[in-house]
Amino acid sequence: MSAQISLELLASATKKLTQGELSETRSNALSNLRDSEMPSTKNEEWQYTDISSVFALCEKSLHETSKKVKSTVKKENCIAGEIDAHWIMINNGTIDTQEVKKLRKIGVYVSLLSKNLDNTEVIIDDSLSSLNAVLMSDAIKITISSEAENKKPIGILFDNDTSLSNHASNFRCILEVKNNANISIIHAHTTKINAPHFTNSVVQINLGKNSHVEYLKLQNYSPKQTLIEKSIINLDLNASLNYTSVDIGGQLTRADIVINFNDKHANAIINGVYIAGQNQHIDNHISANHYIGSTQSSQNFYGVIGGNGRCVFNGKALVCEGAIGTNANQYNHNLLISENAEINTKPELEIYNDDVKCSHGTTVGQLDKNALFYMQSRGIDEDIAQQLLTKTFITRILNGIKIPCVKNSLENLITNKLQKLSR
Amino acid sequence: MLEIKNLHAKVGTTNILNGLSLTIKKGEVHAIMGPNGSGKSTLARIIAGDDSYDVTDGEIHYKNKNLMELSPEERSREGIFLGFQYPVEIPGLNNSQFLKAALNAKRKYLGIEEIDAFEFLKMARETIKRLEIDPSFLNRGVNEGFSGGERKRNEILQMTMLEPNIAILDETDSGLDIDALKVVAKGVNEFRNQDNAVILVTHYQRLLEYIKPDKVHVLSEGRIIRSGDESLAKELEKTGYIAEKESKK
């Protein structure tokens, strides 16, 4: 294991946490860490994103004595109050039992894996997901039954975990979407902490046959927070996913979204908007793995980068031998709006069969000067014109979000952010 | 010249042609009309030898040969021309290079001396001028960046140059403005003579105002439900295909 975090500290920290049916997972994860390296910029996948500082933070958190702090976060303060959804608030690995009961009535079942593992696979396939399994206070499993009601979206709000410390949280959510289910999910990373803080999140989603999921991931952390999130999504026959990632806040954000196409006619749209300003770093890595043919993936990421913001996009499509009739594309468009803004982008295709349709496109550029001038000549202030045009640039992605009740809140967030950027 | 007997065909498990028979003699122009999905394009592509359709029953004879035994390229060299409904783009491949290759493939097959670049260009330029087609056509890639109308004109240019015995024009009129339609009609009218034949596959009567057919057939659910002369097309224009279909039931 890497030098960054002491194994002894990890071992003693994990003992303080709820074990129950998770004890085997935790000890496996700990032994994984013994043999694996934490990512560094020497690693191709991490060459643009240096996360060494978060390990220091993580280590620091392990030195602290356990002091459980009751959540002070009100959902009203972190966008959850604005959006009409069934919010599942997760606090130090626990959930409000009243809420669980309510959800059961609409066909959504929430449980803690420490109490009932029920053969659920807890993925520990790399050092970060192993670290997560060692230090998470619990894992939440949400099962969406075939009959689940889809009048309102399900909101997942992870209220940062203080089981071990106030510097680092580890969160894991497993979403089991049963055959034929149809559901909208909002996953909010919006509880702001005004101190250096590292959230290590793992999301596992399994989409059953013919199921459909609308998914919005919204990240609006404080400028001192770091989020590293790995999402592993499995699609069964004829499953369809419309995933949108919106990254606005945070100091350092890294998302790995892995989509596995495990059967025919599955399709996934993976869209994203990232807006980075001064001292922000946002990195999105997406892999669409087409193991089976007649599947479709489409990645569209739009970025606006101001200040000395730095963004990374790496969209991959893997088409395996025999996966005929695969359709995969990746598009990434970037606006650089200030002197020191930086983008590193790499759309990748790895194709092992000829019966495919794949394409990708990337652009880096500025706002159309003619359009800006046109607007100014109609009396619109330059910075307003800039904001309007920038907003138009990302509208395509926002319009792709099919969860109606989030529109207003999102627009407000984005408008505010763009105002800050142009200032 | 062309005789189709009791043709049955399907794609996958869907039956498309259900016992279609049709006889076309030298010098005739036949119009095959019918609603979308009636099997018009399938018929055209089967005659040209597209093997994505399964012919399950029936025969096609052409110049006393069993057509089904010939490859698509042999059919072409024997004088069958299909004007495609959606002519495909071949980026980077020069139109004149393509046409010359096609022309020489046919000449070689017929044992005629192949044509050289100079002679070909002369011939192509004359044809283009006669058909009132933009000379830039020859230097562009095959249908590359062509509008719908340009593609159809390109099909007519190819037909004229290749001098087939039977030309099947699949929805050649669809998506054309009136000027383009006139160019296409002019090409067809100049092409038709006592020794060749034309099959016009069309959804609308409009094209038939410019190209007078000898016979009009109505296709529905994979077979010909009515045949007549030019007036049948006009009648259809008024009553529509639905009425036609209903009246047959």
């Binding site: 191709e44 031998e321 970037n334 650089l336 200030s338 002197e339 020191n340 803004a341 930086e342 983008i343 590193n344 982008t345 790499k346 759309p347 990748e348 295709l349 790895e350 194709i351 092992y352 069969n353 000829d354 019966d355 495919v356 349709k357 794949c358 394409s359 990708h360 496109g361 990337t362 652009t363 880096v364 550029g365 500025q366 | 040209a48 030898g49 597209d50 093997d51 994505s52 490859s71 698509p72 390229e73 072409s76 021309f81 299909l82 002519p87 495909v88 071949i90 980026p91 980077g92 491949l93 020069n94 290079q97 393509f98 046409l99 290759a101 096609a102 493939a105 097959y109 890639g141 095959v142």
Partner: protein
Amino acid sequence: MSANKEEINSLIESRYKHGFVTDIESDSLPPGLNEDVIRAISARKNEPKFMLDWRLKSYKHWLKLNEPNWAHVDYTPINYQDISYFSAPKSDADRPKSLAEVDPKLLETYDKLGIPLHERARLAGVAVDAVFDSVSIATTFKKKLSDAGVIFCPFSEAVTKHPELIKKYLGSVVPYRDNFFTALNSAVFSDGSFVYIPKGVRCPMELSTYFRINAANTGQFERTLIIADEGSHVSYLEGCTAPMRDENQLHAAVVELVALKDAEIKYSTVQNWYPGDEEGKGGIYNFVTKRGDCRGANSKISWTQVETGSAITWKYPSCILRGDNSIGEFYSVAVTNNRQQADTGTKMIHIGNNTKSTIVSKGISAGRAQNAYRGLVRVMPQANNARNHTQCDSLLIGGDCGAHTFPYIEAKNPSAIIEHEATTSKISEDQLFYCKQRGIEEEDAVNMIVNGFCKDVFKKLPMEFAVEAQALLNVSLEGAVG
């Protein structure tokens, strides 16, 4: 319409037409690499001390490096102690002064390759610096070039005759420490070409070198250095072909281009080395470092390559756009068939203001081959108004091959405009049916479609090269049907 598998396989097979071994005795060093070998190479070439020192420095650095493994290629490890680092034709002591003195067997070899040296030189007005194994044998049209002040000579000759130019420019674009193979090349390079175009001179003819690899176990380490002084212009052609051989042969060349203010260099390559047999046995390992430095304002460097040969190609002809308004171009066709592997592309490093780069890459993969495009477009913070356009297309023929795209884009200046587009496709059944309906044979149709796919690159090649390239493409893919 889909042709069945056996049909495809039988059609894809097309044997290497240039496979034969010329029976000329080689005067080679025993296999192995150490300081003594390097001293021996340098001594044989009567090199000045600065050259030997440079070689030894490179060698010492090489010892510290590991072979790179990031490319999308797979091969059995190379034992660098099994390679002989020097081989020259026996008649080295008495070098021919004219073509008439050239070993007739060698001329015959060129004949078989379709390169009738004197004929081609005379008819096409091309000066040919033929490299047979590691030592240059004949250089023609010297007079015409020297009248124009152009220096075009074997690298070893330049080392002794123009040491000031070598000292100034050697390693200035590709430092010996750049990578594993450049360090190796810098230590042991045998020979190559040197070109200097003086200020304001437009080189009166296209310069050309034909490389060949012969003699078993002889790694070939070419070194090419082209300097275009202010306001000059040169077009350089490189073409290669090698005899059939069962053991893998390593080729690790280094090409350095320097374009000063207002100068332009056009560098074209047709590479047709032995690709190995249908099972992937034999074939050349082509691990080449090519880089051009647009050092002066308004300079331009253009790379065009048609890569049809080699078992493994690892090659990224690059441009460093240092001068303001400088232009870099990369046009590439890479064809892989059977078990060939190619990992090729370019790097465009924008440093000066108003720099522009264009990348057009066409990869064609058939059989069980793997073909990867790997490219980097980097806009440095000081590079205002940089422009890049990249078009990167792959064509797959058959279900067992692979095509991969790894484009890295790094923009650190907000005035940059970068566009990257890539597509992957196969020859569509619609296209084939359309051609067949017009009477064209399937094989001809495939050739026509593939040539059309590559047209944007072919039209950048000098005329006679373009013809050769198209012919090569057809041979390489003979009958490969989608």
